[in-house]
Amino acid sequence: MTGAPEITLRALVMCFLLLAIPLATSRIFQLKIGKTIVVAAGRMTLQLFLAGLYLKYLFLWNSIFLNIAWFFVMLVVAMFTVVRSSELNFRIFALPSLLALTVSIISVVLYFNYFVIRIANIFEAKYFIVVGGMLLGNSLRGNIISITNFYSRIHQNEKRYLYRLACGAGLKEALIPYVIESLNSALRPILATMMTIGLVSIPGMMSGQMLGGSSPMEAIKYQITIMIAIFVSLNISTILTIFFTIKTSFDGFGNLKKGVFKTALK
């Protein structure tokens, strides 16, 4: 197998020309997203060029310390994304969310590098940063869904929750139905993806590998392992995020603290 043909500057420009279609659609149907399309495409291009640049040097230097430090920066940005995208109070949720993401993603990526890819240096930039980034990126949405679902459901059903406490439930016993519901909401979409992968879509990683010259069989093996790693890291990170945030979100009587939400929810 040979690698994919190089994408020249001219080829990139040709690709950007395709955006004329959504821009025209926006104008014809007055969607008012023309400016957003341009900004989003611009940001994507800039961010990916920057990613390409830092990855180039991370791969080149391949320092364990630098790789870990860089990954921690990625985790902090991810934590900001999770907490900011939810309705939850940053001060209460920042540290527990960061801890949950760090423990879950790093443990899965190190297991993956050691037992699945079986590389000598499990912190090697090419795998630690790239695989870790993939797990992190795919865990974010699930984390946002689960943590938002968990706290908003308790808030919406406060009477029911307090009634359970009044009936003698311990904190964990009263929270279990909400944990189950929020984990389901986070995990079901990825399970649905696993059900149809390869049938109705060729995943990005697999396509990228094949375009890069790998055989389809090699590409699917990587895709299978990475899907399992994503599912497991999402599973661990959602459980840990809920578990760690419970400690800071409920008072000693089991009541949901008043400052849990950014603003008062209806």
Binding site: K159, L165, C167
Partner: protein, 208 residues
């Protein structure tokens, strides 16, 4: 014994209770009266730990309600509210969930006992297999009352528990809590039926 000692409490800068004191002996039947916003439900919530006083303390059997003691305190209290919300699912399953809690396991009732209590409060035992959400307000209220009885607690906290019941059922519920049971009862009700029964102490919460 329950003691409210010098309780003061504000909600949004509005005083609800100021230096409130009350002692309730074991087995006593207390009816709390007062206009809306005078802190009737707050008195029950102070016991269950859902509200904390700004000043003062609440003691149950001589032990102050605190984060350390609230969990064991709740295992001695049975609360029934105006609207009972057990969640989604069949009535029997929802009741069983409550008895799966560690503190409630010893009092897990057999179906026969459940059915007999359903009959006692004019509920068809067939309702046990119905969805809780399909029950009427009055039926839900009675399921809440039955659950409180089954929990076999020392203190019943009843917040307008007869509001959705007809006259005959009201009398039945009032008779049960005021005469048939020996436990302490603290009931909030505007229903004259509670007050007219003998042997009750009425606590009036006035304007501050």
């Amino acid at each position: 014994m329950i003691r409210y000692e010098n309780i003061s409490l504000k909600f949004d800068a509005r005083s609800i209770l100021r230096n409130f004191n009350l002692t309730i002996r074991d087995g006593e039947k207390i009816i709390i009266r007062g206009k809306s916003g005078r802190g009737k439900t707050t008195l029950l919530n102070l016991l269950t730990g859902f509200v904390q006083p700004d000043e003062g303390r609440v003691l149950l059997d001589g032990v102050p309600i605190s984060p350390e003691t609230i969990w064991s305190a709740r295992s001695r209290l049975a609360f029934v509210g105006q609207s009972v919300d057990l969640g989604k699912g069949k009535v029997l399953e929802l009741l069983q969930q409550i008895f799966d809690y560690e503190v409630n396991r010893p009092s897990k009732p057999a179906r026969q006992r459940l059915e007999s209590l359903f009959e006692q409060f004019d509920l068809d035992p067939g309702q046990l297999d119905k969805d809780f959400s399909d029950l009427s307000g009055g039926e839900k209220q009675r399921v809440g009352i039955i659950l409180a009885i089954l929990l076999e607690r020392q203190v019943y906290l009843l917040d307008e528990v007869t509001s959705a019941l007809d006259k005959t059922l009201k009398e039945k519920v009032i008779r049960y809590f005021l005469f048939d049971c020996s436990e302490t009862v603290i009931a909030i009700s505007h229903d004259k039926g509670w007050e007219s029964a003998g042997g009750v102490r009425i606590v009036e919460l006035g304007e501050l």
